[in-house]
Amino acid sequence: MQFRPIISAMRRNKVGAVLIAVQMAITLAILCNALFLIEQRVAWSQRPTGTDEANVVVIQNQWVGSPPDLAARLQGDLAALRSLPGVQDATSSNTYPLSGGGSTTGLSLKPDQKNATALASIYFGDEHAIAAFGLKLIAGRNFNSDEVVNKMGYTDLNPPAGIIVTRTLAEKLFPNGSAVGQSVYEESIKGQIPIVGVVDRMQVPWVGAGGWGSKFSESSLFMPFHFLSSYPTYYLVRSQPGQAAAVMQAAQKKLFDISRARVIGKALTLAAARTEAYKDDKGLVVILAVVCASLLAVTSFGIVGLTSYWVAQRRRQIGIRRALGATRNAIIQYFQTENLLIAGAGAVLGIAMAVSLNLWMVNIFAMQRLNTGYALIGAIVVLVLGQIAVLWPALRAASVPPALATRAA
């Protein structure tokens, strides 16, 4: 295929060619940044919490007023929940993964350290917590029942007998050896706190990409507390596989049977909590995908429209070419090569725009650097799109009869 005659023909349709190239460039720039963002968000929203999400039921419980016998009521509720059919185990905590709210502390290795060694989210739980969340203990031991004490609201500052940390937190605190048996200092509690166990994973309660907790999303710790408070607290009930729905029903009924002087704010599985927590992320992904699809559609219709016009404009010229011996394929190839040249220019410009758009967004927004692979994928998509879009007008051009040349314009 010869380029020179195509290029000289394009020079006569300069603006049209430039318009298509610029359109394709912007399409490419948006496309690869959007794909990149989509990929990141999907990966972010699929991170595991470390819990048995499908079978863990969360029940928010709030007592009316502050009954004096809170500790006994809590014990009673937990015993009743554990004895329900289909229940593996149950515990109570201040929060749960995917909830979006919780408490953070800084852990230090020395008592008067100026900056904390690691930030971690705090979960309260008894000796049933690991089983009730469905976590995997990978080192050390679980809490003993005699270590579990009552915590009267957040302003109660009694020190815990020990803590269980996540693997990530353990490695952050003690990169060179086992964390079990070591001690750390916490911001508000006086004295050393020994680490008694390590669980494989337990995500912090916050889920926003780039939001609070995103920098230490795998650093959590358990304190052996029963949380007694006028705040809403949470029962975590782990059902036998597949029985979450039945357990959720039965558990609420049981709790109201025990006492009606409470509010059950919400009841849902952690799997449902995940859907809710990442709803906006998923929404963003869908919106970006729809915009990308519309973008590709609009660009290709634009190519179809302008190329069709060029074909119409050159009908006589095409007829003459056909009369002079050009095959149908040669005509199709002509328009395909023309589009390839335009799209190629657009792709080069587009990659440059994509990279600079990304760099700009890295500066303005907390966005990551674009993987160059995405720019290349985008370029290929745009080139292929151009070839597909040009096919219809090219076929119309190929169907111009050679006899057209013999007629007057």
């Binding site: 318009l19 912007i26 904390a116 911001e187 906006d280 609009v298 634009g302 016009y309």
Partner: protein, 440 residues
Amino acid sequence: MFNYYFGLAVRSLRRNIVLTVLMIAAVGVGIGASMTTLTVFRAMDNDPIPQKSRQLFAVQIDNWGPDTKSIVAGDKERFQQQLSYIDAVGLMNAKAAHSQTAMYRTGAALTPANPSLLPFQVQIRAAYTDFFPMFQTPFLLGGPWSADDDKNHADVAVITQKLNDKVFGGGNSIGKTINLDNHEYRIVGILGRWDPTPQFYDLNNDAFGEGAAVYLPFTRAIDGQMPSWGNNNCNGDIGQPGWEGRLRSECVWIQFWAELPTAADAENYRTFLNNYATEQQHLGRFHWPAHTRIRDVREWLVYQHVVSDEYRILVLVSFSFLLVCLLNAMGLMLAKIMGRAGDIGVRRALGASRRAIFGQCLIEAGVVGLAGGLLGLALTALGLMGLRSLLSEEVSRLTHFSPADITIAIVLAVVATTLAGLYPTWRAAQVQPAWQLKAQ
């Protein structure tokens, strides 16, 4: 002449229906996408109290100093957005502003009088009486509690109409009581719909969420040891255990707003705050020079980063999309106009000036823009519907079309399309009247 051009435009658009549909679709899709995101963005970026946004100020006092431990990094601009109880009370007692209120978010279980109904959770805002006039809350019945009620830590409450409907089945409930965590509060006022978006007065907690259902005197909530249900930040040392310990601690959890009607008032208040902090330094509580700030509502919204990066990116993406759509429409217009060069040549020969041709084609572009804008409006409605099903309830609250949005959509469509039509139109005006003759 406008009517003539308009008629010609419609006729010409009907003549080449495929190109016309493509152009209108391109503009419509672009407008639809950009208006969908812009509507949400505008709701987020909204001035929630336009008549007073330059007179209401959020107050910041740095009670942790430059050596804050972990929660807030050492950025001089980014310091505590809430106050400790000590400072909140200090500022309330000083009464240095025209009106002022300390406040925080809390909650309780409300037990309905009807024993067959289960207790339910209510969001509570603990505030001072100035809260209501400062933020221009609309009262349906009754009014704010009195300054004496603040002073006496009175068991009084203002509730929303929605809660009144739920608990009492509507009607005049002034003087009735509600039971919150086994404590009775006498209702003194019922608020009508009041839904500033974003909820500027407490952005730490659900900037786009639903507000409180019950308002209680701050002093009463503190007496009741009602804990903050919002953001609590402690700089390492939580202080002494227990409620009293929390009140004496440097933990921050209270929002503080001052109404300062004039620039001079604001300046005076800045001085007052500085003096207050300096005094705290002299008392030995602060070990650093005064570091305080007041920001009005608009500044506060920007400072608190109310519009998340995601939505800024989305707006950026959708407007780039609009640009692509306009380039597209521009290419098609060019094709269309060049295809009509013959007619234009004849018109020129018959006495149409360049200006006349220019006007005719530009109006045609405007008509395309108008049609595209109307299509765009329909697509925006569809897009917002889609967003409502896709996004969380909090954001879904922002997907409502205002009359201003409709105007913006139409004006944007017409102006943008006309701009895109400038080049093709200019080309049309360049068509020589002689051309057609030459071609014979």
